[in-house]
Symmetry: D3
Subunit: 118 residues, 6 copies
């Protein structure tokens, strides 16, 4: 889908694609989570909790994956889920359940590949 949105004309099969504003927003979005004064690990947790209280499953899946990649532990994730649940209330519960599913999948994928993201 990114090629359809951000790609060149061939990738978009001649269809109109994203404007410059949208392209720059996507690029800015990537920069936001790079290591800075705060480590990427903390920024990914911030992105995850923001996604949970705003209740966006695709965004939760993405940030759980990123958290696993940058070495966040399960205990750190569960304490972050606490904040999302208390701030956002029971309406967050279905998304917390899916967050746990995404986490189990991400850990299983790492185990299957034999790599150590920590």
């Amino acid at each position: 889908m990114n090629a359809r949105i951000l790609g060149d004309e061939a990738e978009r099969e001649g269809k109109a694609g994203a404007t410059l504003v949208t392209k720059r927003f996507f690029s800015l979005d990537g920069k936001t989570y790079e290591d800075g004064t705060l480590p990427a690990k903390t920024k990914e947790l911030l992105g995850l909790v923001a996604s949970m209280v705003l209740r966006c499953d695709d965004c939760i899946a993405y940030h759980v994956d990123q958290c696993v990649k940058v070495g966040v532990s399960d205990e750190e994730l569960w304490e972050s889920f606490d904040v999302a649940l208390i701030v956002g209330g029971s309406i967050v519960i279905p998304h917390l359940r899916r967050g746990v599913e995404f986490l189990d999948q991400a850990r299983a994928a790492v185990a299957a590949s034999g790599s150590n993201p920590g």
Copy 2:
């Protein structure tokens, strides 16, 4: 207001107050931000970003104050503001402005009292 909501009958001047459910929620809310595997500093930043994307000024003021108390630096706050702004969009801007005002007030209060929260 907390005495009116959570206090004993005298504090509530004979009026009905919070149920047990509400009292327990308030207590749980306090426990959420205590040091754990994640330090209180990180948890306060998670609470702050959640409050910013949900756009609650009272909650932002509270978490900015807590961040200053547990020693979060201005640079760490600005990088957290980035996440809130990118995830939540321009609708967050008025709340980011107020977040900066709350921060300036909290730093000024610390300077006036001569204490060093860091």
Copy 3:
């Protein structure tokens, strides 16, 4: 403000006012809370909890007032606050505080007028 929005041209001082769509919506909004299979009392509590989880103080003030007018007790209101708080999370707390303030004001106004809304 209602005259400015819904009134005739004289009331609007010659300015453009609400379209037919907006006028009909306002009228439909009024009908929603009339006694039906569910009593007005329950409908006002539904409107109140919806307003609390969506965090609209003007709407909370309005429905608290209506609840007092149709005879909802403080205990019933506190149990409704529970639902709003648990569903909506700590982000609802500032609005719950203001809901209690609105309630105290509404009860005081009734006491001052000598009427009994129950």
Copy 4:
């Protein structure tokens, strides 16, 4: 999924599970809808309307089921849908449609089992 989140270590297959904060929240969530000054029936309708305006289909499915279990009539449900629709707007319509589907399924399940939840 509840066993994965709230269960003991065997149920979690050795994985980290919910913190004490999350466990207590789940327990508090259950207590919120018990009979009190307001009957469970009214509280479930409050939970349903809150879920509809916040647009959480899993939560709507859960509360529709609970409403059927505690004996809420279809007419009472439709009047509650009115409040959700008017407060929350046309954005609620897809969730109202799904609420009706959940209701038809819950009534069919009751009819199939021969029990009478009212």
Copy 5:
């Protein structure tokens, strides 16, 4: 589903259906997007952007279809996506992706039918 909600008793198979409030709301919803001082084209774009920042995929699909029917160009849609993305932030991205999928499907359906909606 509309027959189940809005239809007569036969269409509803004897089940309770929408109240008068809900029926009138559906009718008002239809009137909102008719040509007025603003053309239907602009109103559909307003409905689309509102649906994107509120993140309702069913509503986005509906308004993208309507936009195609009333002759909105791809370039106009992409500039509207910009506004939704900047106002609503990265949380809108998954919905923008689905908006593009809906658009490609709507254009393909038009091409297959040989009609020209512009």
Copy 6:
């Protein structure tokens, strides 16, 4: 406040200011509403309706002002209010009222200055 956030060190009185991510976001936000395939007039209406359904008064005030500056008529604004009200529901009403106040102030300011924004 913009100088405090986006300005150079002197303007920020030595305090830490916005990161590059936040600065670029502000710049992108400005570009979003420039004339393109869609005229600025339509884009401002899109920004206004998005702000109304997300219920941000500062954002509504800003876009109403911009609408007046780029020559949107009152009739066009009222039809845009319709879309916001129908999509977002009665929770939008307090913001619609304030939108009308902002409009009256913006028109009065234009009348006082003798200019004609249309």
